[in-house]
Symmetry: C2
Subunit: 211 residues, 2 copies
Amino acid sequence: MESRIVASLDLTDEKSLIKIASLIGENVFAIKINWPTVLSLGKTIIGRLSKFSKVICDFKLADIPNTHRLIMEQIADQNPWAVIAHAFVGKDSLSELVSSGTRIISVVSMSNEGSNRHLNPRWKELMEDALESGVYGIVAPGNNYGLLRQISSRKGNMKVFSPGIGAQGGSYIESIENGSDYVIIGRTIYSDEDPLSKVLKINLDIENHKF
Amino acid sequence: MESRIVASLDLTDEKSLIKIASLIGENVFAIKINWPTVLSLGKTIIGRLSKFSKVICDFKLADIPNTHRLIMEQIADQNPWAVIAHAFVGKDSLSELVSSGTRIISVVSMSNEGSNRHLNPRWKELMEDALESGVYGIVAPGNNYGLLRQISSRKGNMKVFSPGIGAQGGSYIESIENGSDYVIIGRTIYSDEDPLSKVLKINLDIENHKF
């Protein structure tokens, strides 16, 4: 069975990052990195990691269409599997990203307290925009099962990627039960003494669970 | 008189970028760069440009507080003068950026059509959040004078930075008349055959105008 794990490797040290990616790459669905990693190691780290696994660039892009186009051009030769972008800046900005040909995953809700003021109350409209823009997937919280269920029930053909697992309180089993297609797991894996065993155990837990 | 120009140098070629920055650096208020430049040339381009002028990193950050902290840590040694971030993701995310010690400039409205659905209608609340988070400045359109006037009238002690000048229809004189503290000018400067003369002419136009 294909793994449901997206390993969030928030590391900025090259040796540690390459080591863990080479260890677990074949046994996770994808590896996710964010700006701190790219700032530290340069954009070529995307290409280097893509030899071990699909790479999701969690850039939370939120700019005008033209800048989005230029950003996608800059990373095109690094073989990113998907890029994460915000839906709140509008459908034109999302559509421009989709037209790059790389899969786009849209943020329609966030986990920080502050996002409850403007962003989270608008998740339904943000999902409509994401769906109409032709994005591949959406990000929905793996530690808020009520919201996750509501979001998943409207996902259409989009895949649901869920952070908030482990240190942030969510369970990967319950997250999948409530609609996640993929669970984003960070510290639980990369802070473990034996990251590969941890990954294999999670894969097995999910495989053996009756959903 | 101090220049009111923020030169938006959206270039990804190192030679051209350094050449124009060294030419105009002393005669503009600041130089603004965006992700395409940093992806192409690495984060050290921030430090290199800061030898010619203040550098504003137009990153449109929109992440959770912890990721914001890690991003600011990654660029701290590059001497950025300011970083642009979205107010939409919440006050906690903005406050975390402000606590880095680098000036933060908040986006409270955008120029793309798509941003009229979620972001632009909330500019008043976004300004409140920006003000309460202690940001240094806000971004307000230099090609929408009505909105610019309204935003400027509520800016408190924040500085107003205005894009949309030149190719996008705004005039630097009218933009300043309607409340901009600084005008962000891109192609008008870097596509000119003689960028320094262009900058000096704009500085003089502004200096000679009776506001």
